[in-house]
C-alpha cells in the first residue's frame, strides 16, 4: 500500500502542478510591469521582479472601460439567468405535472426537443441572429444580449428542473389546494420553495454559461453592450498585448464562476444533480 500511495501522490502532484501553475502565472503577471514580462519569464515576486499594483489602479481607478463592461457582464448574466430559471421553471413544472401532446410530441419528446438546442453549435444560429438583430435594432443593446442569453440557457433550466419538480410529491400540492391556495400561489409559495436547491443550481449554471460566452458577444455587440470577455480581447488589440491588465481582468472574471463551482460542488457531493444525469 505504501508504494502505491506514493505513486498516487506523485501523479496527483504532477497534475496539480500542471493545473495550478497557469493560475499562479496569471496571478503574478497581474502585478508585473511591461518590462518584467517582455524580458523573459520572471517567476518570483520580490526576487525576480518588484510587484506593482499598476494594473489594478488602471482598472479600478476609473477612466477606463473596465467597470462598464464588468457591469454589463453582471447585468446580462444575472437577468438572463433569472429569466431562464423563472420561465424554465414554469415549463419544467408543466412537463412534470401535466400531460402534453402536440402532434406526435409528448412530454419526453418536448423535453428532448427543447434541450436539443444545446446541441446546435452557436455559430449556426449566430449568423442568422446577426441579420435579425440588425433589422430589429437589437444589435449592441442590453435587451438583445439578455434575450440571446436567456435563449441559450432556457433548454438547460427546463431540462434540469423537470427532474426536481418530478421529485416533489403531488400530494403536497393537493394539501395546499385544500388549504385554499389558488393555483398560481401553490406554484410560487409551495412548489418553487421546495425546489429551491434545483432553482439555485439552474441559476448558477446559467450564470456560468452566460458569463463565459464569447461568440454571441463578439458577433452581436461592438461598443455599448460589450461584456468582459470582449473587453479582455480589446486589450490585445495592440502589437504588444497588455498582459498585466489581461491577467488582472482574468482574475476578476474568475470570481463569479468560482462561487458557482464551489456551490455546485457542494450540490454534486450531495447527489442533487446526479439524478438528471443517469
Amino acid at each position: 500500500m505504501g508504494a502505491k500511495g506514493w505513486g498516487r501522490r506523485s501523479v496527483l502532484f504532477l497534475w496539480m502542478l500542471f493545473a495550478l501553475f497557469p493560475v499562479y502565472w496569471t496571478l503574478i503577471t497581474a502585478f508585473k510591469q511591461q518590462v518584467d514580462i517582455y524580458d523573459g519569464p520572471k517567476f518570483l515576486p520580490f526576487v525576480d521582479f518588484t510587484p506593482t499594483p499598476q494594473a489594478w489602479t488602471t482598472l479600478f481607478g476609473g477612466g477606463g472601460d473596465f467597470l462598464g463592461k464588468f457591469w454589463n457582464s453582471i447585468l446580462f448574466s444575472g437577468v438572463s439567468s433569472l429569466l431562464a430559471v423563472v420561465l424554465g421553471g414554469f415549463a419544467a413544472y408543466g412537463l412534470a405535472r401535466y400531460r402534453y401532446k402536440y402532434g406526435p410530441y409528448r412530454n419526453d419528446d418536448l423535453s428532448f426537443l427543447i434541450v436539443s438546442q444545446r446541441i446546435m453549435p452557436p455559430i449556426v444560429s449566430v449568423l442568422a441572429l446577426y441579420v435579425v438583430f440588425v433589422n430589429l435594432r437589437l444589435l449592441d443593446t442590453a435587451a438583445g444580449m439578455i434575450l440571446a442569453y436567456t435563449a441559450m440557457n432556457l433548454p438547460l433550466t427546463v431540462y434540469l428542473l423537470r427532474t426536481f419538480f418530478e421529485a416533489i410529491p403531488v400530494e403536497v400540492e393537493h394539501a395546499a389546494a385544500l388549504d385554499g391556495y389558488p393555483r398560481s400561489q401553490r406554484l410560487l409559495r409551495i412548489v418553487f420553495p421546495l425546489a429551491a436547491p434545483g432553482l439555485a443550481a439552474a441559476f448558477l449554471l446559467s450564470f456560468f454559461f452566460a458569463w463565459n460566452d464569447f461568440l454571441f458577444a463578439l458577433m452581436l455587440t461592438f461598443n455599448n453592450a460589450q461584456t468582459l470577455p470582449l473587453y479582455i480581447t480589446s486589450l490585445n488589440a495592440q502589437s504588444q498585448p497588455l498582459w498585466w491588465l489581461i491577467s488582472a481582468v482574468g482574475l476578476v472574471a474568475l470570481i463569479p464562476p468560482a462561487i458557482v463551482t464551489v456551490v455546485l460542488d457542494r450540490f454534486m457531493s450531495r447527489q442533487v444533480l446526479i439524478g438528471g444525469m443517469r
Binding site: P22, L113, A128, T261
Partner: protein, 326 residues
Amino acid sequence: MAVPQQRAARGQWYKHLLLSPPLAFFAAFAIFPLVFTIYVSLSNWSITGEHSFVGFANYANILGSETFRQSFLNTVIFAVVTVLFQYALGLALAVLVYRTTRGQSVLRLLLLVPMMFTPVVVGFVWKTMFDPSYGPISWLFDTVGLPAVPWFSEQLPAMAAIVTADVWQWTPFMFLILFAALRSLPTAPLEAAMVDGASGWRLFIDHMMPMLLPASMTAILLRAIEAFKLFDVVYLMTGGGPGVKTSTVSLAAYFTGLRSGDLGTAAAMTTILLIVVLIVTMILLRLLIWAGRRRRRADDAAALQVDRNDPALGDAVEPPVSAGVR
C-alpha cells in the same frame, strides 16, 4: 408521473401557458435561425443585404476549398484528441482522488480551478505560457536542454498548444462527473468482488467500469458537443494560424461571414457542421443507451454475487436498479 384527472382537465389553457415561453424562444432562437441559415446557405447573401438564389453552389465551393477542408479536419481532430485526453485524465484523477482520504475536499476544489477560468482568459493565459520569447514553457524547454519549439508558427506545435489549453480547462469537468458517479457506486458489490480475490485492475475493469459507463458516456457526449463548437481558445491563441492551419469550422465561418461579408458561404459551412454534430450526437446517444443497459446488467450480476457471498449482506444492499438508469 401521477397526473390528477380533475387538474388535467381544468389545467388545459394553464399548461400550455407554462410551456409557451421556452417554445417561443425555441422557435425564435433555434428553428428560425436554422431555417434562415439553410436558406442563406443556398444564396449569395452578402453582409450588405443583397442576395439571389444560387442553389448548392456554396456547398460545391467550400467542399473544394482548402480553407474549409483544413478547418473541418482540424475540428474533428481537436474534438477526438481533446475529448479522449480529457476523459482518460478525468477518469484517472477521479479514481486517484477517490482513493485519497486526507484533504479530499480541498484537493477536489483545487482540481476544479481551471474550469472556473473564462475561456477567453484561458486562451490568453496559454498564449503567454507558450510564448517563444517570454513564456515559461519555452523557458522550461531551454532549461532542461530541449530544442526550442516554434509554438505558434508551425501547425503541429500550434495544435498541441491549443489541445493543451482545452485539456487543461475541461479535464476538471470530466473529473467532476466521474468522481460524483464513482461516489454513487454501491460499495457492497465491489467489496464482494474483493472477497472473491479480484485484484485492483480486474476490480476496476470488470466491476467499476461497467458501472461507470453511463456517467462516462454522458460526460463524453457533453464534452463532444462542446468540442465541435471550438472557437474561443483558437481565436485567441492562434487566430487559426499559421495561415488556416489551426482553423476550425466555427472560426472559418466567422471569418468568412462577418469579416469577409460572405454570409452565404459561411452559412453553408455552419450547416455542414450542424449535420456532422447531429450525426455524432446520435451515435453517442445510442452508446449512452447501450451503456445504461450494460450498467443494469452489471448491477444485477453484482447483486447476485453479493447474494452468493453472504446472503445476510445481500439483503442490506440497496436495490440495484434504483442506482441505475432512469
